[in-house]
Amino acid sequence: MEQHAELEAQVDRWRGYVQRRRAISTADVEELEDHLRGQVADLQATGLDDEESFLIAIKRLGNLDAVSREFAREHSERLWKQLALVPDGPDDTGSPSWRELAVVLGLAVGAGLAVKAGAAWITDENALARNVGVLVVPFVAAYFAWKRRLTVPVAAALVAALAAVAVVVNVYPFARGGSTEVLTVVHTPVVLWLLLGLAYVGGRWRSDRGRMDFARFTGELAIYLTLLALGGGVLIGLTFAVLAALGVDLEPVMEDWILPFAVPGALVVAAWLVEAKKNVVENIAPVLTRVFTPLTIVMLLAVLVVLLSSGGLADVDRDLLILMDAILVLVLCLLLYSISARDPLAPPGVFDALQLVLVVAALAVDAVMLTAMLTRIAELGSSPNRVAALGLNVLLLVHLVGSAWLTARFLRRQAGFATLERWQTRYLPVYAAWAAVVVVAFPPVFGFV
């Protein structure tokens, strides 16, 4: 009996090993296992023991790489896993996919209607800009609330928070076109994104894994949105051209109906697509980070050289500072996505070293930026914009220093990769908290200018 347990363990290990081959499906593994066991039983009948039988049976089954290649040749579609959005049978969660599709389409139309209604009621363009996020994000959040079956307290907290954001952006007496209004328009989406994250992780906001999943979701969502926008652009362009040739101008319909429905709808649909294909295709965001990390290092170094050689930092253009902030955010995204896709158990490699170079280069740029900003503030006094930019830069600096320190420790094998990963996921909410401060506290502090 003891011996047979060992055989079972060996078969289990073999099965796990074969299952990792993408070209070999679960049913194929079952078929091969049936074969293997048949062979083992026959060999045992000739008087061999369990281990000998297993070894011979495995050997006869052939080199797994070669067999897997043969399966791949026959089933190439498996390597390029199919995205079956509406499977034939009900899925594991028990809710039929048609219902999910209906919910998604309903929410997409709802988001469009909300934007359309907002545009009709809110005549002031700036006020509409403040409200756009509040009009759209709840529909994406509602999808996840439905999908994750949020508990009533969590859902209530979410609704209350969304309502609070809506109240703040509408009740504050902003000076028309003032900087605090612009800051609010820019920072509200970040706060809303945090709330969406709360719905995404199903209320388990402390979970590091949940946060990392939400970060992955965000990256994939951006890519899906881009693809949908490209496809939609081609479609609209063709329609435009055809109708123009027939003497019909699509422009008014486009502005009044197509865009208000297409853009928010695309966001909801993209969220659903990312959710549906999560386990189907390899994530693309981490693949892109591999390509762009070395290129970004080159870019950062070039920027740094130009920045330092251009002399006086105090008269650095304001737009340049904003652009540099964008670059630093990009660097952090690269860092986050390569971390999100890395096997935490793999030993440090060349790419990790490259990542450290990236972070250090970004740190150098950030240090230059901070100096420039502090000089500006010292010379010209503080303004909402300058303080907001300074705050963001300090946050970025802390994030980068922490990442550099932990990556270096990881490279010298003094700390595990998990520490680095945890640092990222723990730090992310800080950005949203800062955005909330900018939205809620800045306007009253700076007198709504």
Binding site: A27, D28, E30, E31, L32, E33, D34, H35, R37, G38, Q39, D42, R60, L61, G62, N63, L64, A66, V67, E70, F71, R73, E74, H75
Partner: protein, 120 residues
């Protein structure tokens, strides 16, 4: 005696179709039958049988169904389809021609060398 890889590959399809013409079978039983028929001299890499069966299923020569074996495991059975039977007849004819030609060549090769020269 080791049989050349290409020859094994070329004969695999007609062999499998022929074995299935006696009735439906599962993978391991097909391989055992190949062993018996060749007196154990035709050794396949066992794992390669399955991609072959799946290809035959895709082109419609065989159909498959799952059942439960006596040991309680799920087992996939393959059966010849009418299209497969046609393909088998076709292959049989091809192989008969090849085998016939080969037999004549072997017989020639056994004749005295002079006769062969006379041909040239």
């Amino acid at each position: 005696m080791r049989i050349d890889k290409d020859l094994v590959a070329a004969s695999a399809t007609p062999l499998v179709l022929g074995i299935l013409s006696d009735g439906e079978q599962y993978g391991y039983a097909i391989l055992k039958r190949v062993g018996e028929l060749s007196g154990g001299r035709m050794q396949w890499t066992d794992g390669m049988l399955y991609p072959l069966l799946h290809r035959l299923e895709r082109v419609g020569y065989v159909s498959s169904s799952w059942s439960t074996s006596e040991a309680g495991r799920r087992r996939k059975h393959y059966a010849l389809t009418p299209a497969g039977r046609e393909a088998l007849t076709d292959r049989q004819e091809q192989w008969t021609v090849v085998a016939d030609a080969l037999r004549q060549v072997w017989q020639q090769a056994q004749r005295p060398a002079g006769l062969v020269e006379g041909w040239a």
